[in-house]
């Protein structure tokens, strides 16, 4: 049928379009929902008022409101990350930079407040391009790796992600393997190291391996053998400078007084530590002690100037490995002198 009305008439007779919403199902009342939405804000207001009151009463900061805000930011970041769904990309090693950066805040608390890490020489880490960080390894759990990662990300003028190499043993552990891969770690296989360096990444390697983390408290700050120098050969082949790193403080977080080798063997672990608190206090024994840490990045050793064939020269490789080891050991002694006390 042909419409006889003019556009003007049609406009006059028209009604606004009605939008049909789908049935939302069960919902709380409007007031309660509004309260739910605003609850975080009210809580923050309360905390800020409390902190101001406490400051007036006592004269110094009891609640640091900046720290509270950092925690809230952390929660919001996690919420935003959860909203990504499948819309994120990981690199070929399974590294998710966004996710890792959201966790830097949590490690910053350990870095700044718990272990009060003092970092020197971070300017030796190149802002771009490949490099191999070689560090001493200590403490029963590899907290030193996380602190070196946090140091480079937080203190360097160009925040970079350090990709640590971990023992393949840890890649077989539930949860841990997932966390390690997601935050950019990979297996300590020469092939993996080469591949990471060829992508111009910063690679962190602990040549001592589990011999370093599993040493007892009486052997603290005495470096173990630096593997078979494989890290030097890989660095020469990939043309990456070696940056020795000395970490002081990691030895005291879990003072290991004995190693129950039969138990370790039963669970397939490299060592089973006995500390004054573990396994006596159960899970509380896993809380690391608040020792004072110092991390020093040393001047790079330019092994990239050697031709790639030099990597097959075992003499040269072992000599360079020893040189790196000496630099790390000397750095440990220097930093131990600079530290006023174990927990100060």
């Amino acid at each position: 049928m042909i419409d006889v009305k003019s556009p003007r008439q049609r406009r006059k007779a028209s009604k606004p379009a009605e939008i049909m919403q789908p049935d939302p199902g069960f919902q709380l009342s409007k007031q309660i929902r509004r309260l739910q939405r605003r609850a975080p804000l009210y809580a923050l207001q309360g905390i800020s008022e409390l902190s101001v009151r406490l400051k007036q009463m006592t004269g110094h900061d009891v609640i640091d409101f900046n720290r509270v805000m950092e925690f809230v930011q952390f929660l919001y970041k996690q919420q935003a990350l959860a909203r990504r769904g499948a819309n994120y990309a990981v690199d070929d090693f399974g590294f998710d930079p966004q996710w890792t950066e959201s966790f830097i805040d949590a490690f910053m608390v350990l870095y700044r407040d718990y272990w009060r890490v003092e970092t020197t020489g971070v300017e030796h880490v190149p802002a771009t391009g490949r490099a191999l960080l070689v560090s001493n390894h200590a403490g029963v759990l590899p907290w030193d790796g996380t602190m070196i990662k946090t140091a480079v990300f937080a203190e360097h003028s160009h925040p970079r992600h350090v990709r640590a190499l971990v023992a393949s043993l840890f890649m077989g552990m539930p949860m841990l393997s997932w966390f390690l891969r997601r935050t950019g770690q990979t297996v300590g296989h020469p092939d993996d190291t080469r591949r990471l360096l060829e992508r111009d990444e910063l690679v962190l390697v602990f040549p001592e391996g589990v011999r370093g983390t599993g040493k007892q408290f009486k052997d603290r700050y005495r470096l173990r053998r630096f593997g078979r120098g494989g890290f030097v050969a890989t660095a020469i082949r990939s043309g990456a400078p070696i940056i020795p790193v000395s970490v002081v403080g990691s030895e005291e977080i879990y003072p290991m007084v004995a190693d129950l080798a039969p138990v370790a063997k039963f669970f397939g672990l490299p060592y089973f530590p006995i500390t004054p608190f573990w396994p006596l206090l159960g899970p509380f024994g896993m809380i690391p002690l608040p020792s004072k840490w110092r991390i020093q990045f040393h001047a790079p050793i330019h092994v990239e100037n050697y031709p790639p064939e030099a990597a097959d020269d075992q003499n040269l490789v072992m000599a360079l490995a020893d040189e790196v080891r000496d630099v790390v050991q000397q750095g440990i002694y220097d930093n131990l002198k600079l530290r006023r006390g174990v927990f100060l």
């Binding site: 552990m173 841990l176 990979t186 092939d191 993996d192």
Partner: protein, 343 residues
């Protein structure tokens, strides 16, 4: 010929070769005018006779089962004994075979927690605890490499194809579940291969001149949890790690997906291949990344399959109706009803 990969390879090869001959135990899924076809079983010596009688100069051996509902025994028969027959057929003194292309699989590497992040071609090892499929593939490739050593006049290419997720693969069925049981505490990297890229790789290896073993898999990886999210499912980390047999039993009982032993390892620990040799030799990389393969599977999940449309008009009508139904279904969630202004 009776599976999509073989049929597509034949279709793509047909214009490039003077004479094409296919054989399979089942009927081919698509009729190809320029191809002769015969029912023959690689497990019998008849295949050798065929090769010699027809004076075949290039053999593309795709009858290697990896993802198959058959029993382990019959997979072994097809993969190892079948390949042995094909090789025997090709190595007769009167044979004129100059090129042999053998399909293999990423499953040859197995998957373990302690593996390096990338498997290159020389990292296969018989020492590791291997599943039956991995062992069969290792046996098969050992036979092939022995053949290559003895017959220097024949160029042999082994194509280790990555895991594919077309509709009928176990991995695709697993990932398409609404609630996907995964191994508790593990989120492995998956590397996939698009069907088109698998075909392209085999066609290129036939037409080109690339002897050797090659890994063929897509660029990049997706995490298992990411793949499940792309498919619109929800991961349920309930399977016990390091008890693959228990996990397989559980999956068979709970979600009715029979995940093979090698695939259970892949779902637990992930498997990623290094394809740099393929790139260097072929000058070509698979066109679809792992993410794109997954996206393709996810978008294909919503499509309905239209069964055998006879006349073209009928087909177009069906497609139109399907599109309309889909459009309606899409709008159904959030209905916007515009009332007519005039009655």
């Amino acid at each position: 010929m009776s599976n999509p990969l073989g049929a597509e390879v034949a279709r793509r090869l047909a214009p490039h070769v003077p004479y094409l001959f296919g054989c399979d135990v089942a009927d081919p899924i698509s009729a190809l005018e320029s191809m002769d076809f015969v029912h023959a079983d690689t497990r019998h010596a008849a295949i050798g006779k065929l090769v010699r009688q027809l004076r075949v100069d290039t053999v593309v051996h795709l009858a290697v089962m990896v993802d198959s509902p058959h029993a382990e025994r019959s997979i072994h028969e097809t993969d190892v004994i079948g390949t042995m027959n094909v090789l025997t057929g090709c190595s007769a003194p009167t044979s004129q075979v100059r090129r042999l292309i053998v399909k293999s699989s990423q499953a040859i590497y197995g998957a373990a927690a302690t593996d390096p992040s990338f498997m290159s071609e020389d990292m296969t090892s018989i020492e590791r605890p291997a599943t039956s499929v991995t062992r069969d593939l290792l046996d098969m490739e050992a036979l092939v490499s022995e053949f290559a050593l003895r017959n220097e006049s024949c160029q042999v290419s082994v194509m280790r194809l990555g895991f594919r997720v077309s509709e009928d693969t176990t991995l695709a069925r697993y990932l398409s579940l609404p609630i996907v049981p995964t191994f508790a505490g593990f989120d492995p990297r998956l590397q996939l291969l698009h069907e088109e890229d698998a075909v392209e790789a085999i066609v290129r290896s036939v037409l080109g001149d690339h002897p050797g073993v090659f890994n063929v898999a897509a660029n990049g990886v997706v995490l298992l949890s990411q793949a499940i999210a792309i498919m619109g499912g929800r991961p349920a980390p309930i399977l016990p790690p390091y008890a693959a047999w228990m996990a397989r039993l559980g999956m068979r009982a709970l979600v009715r997906v029979d995940v093979q032993a090698y695939l259970a390892d892949v779902i637990a620990f992930g498997s990623v291949m290094d394809c740099s040799r393929l790139e260097a030799s072929f000058g070509w990389r698979p066109a679809h990344s792992s993410r794109e393969v997954m996206d393709g599977l996810a978008s294909g999940k919503n499509l309905e399959v239209i069964e055998a449309p006879s006349p073209p008009q009928e087909y177009e009508l069906q497609v139109y109706l399907q599109q309309r139904r889909r459009r309606e279904a899409r709008n159904g969630h959030h209905t916007v009803k515009v009332l007519e202004a005039h009655k």
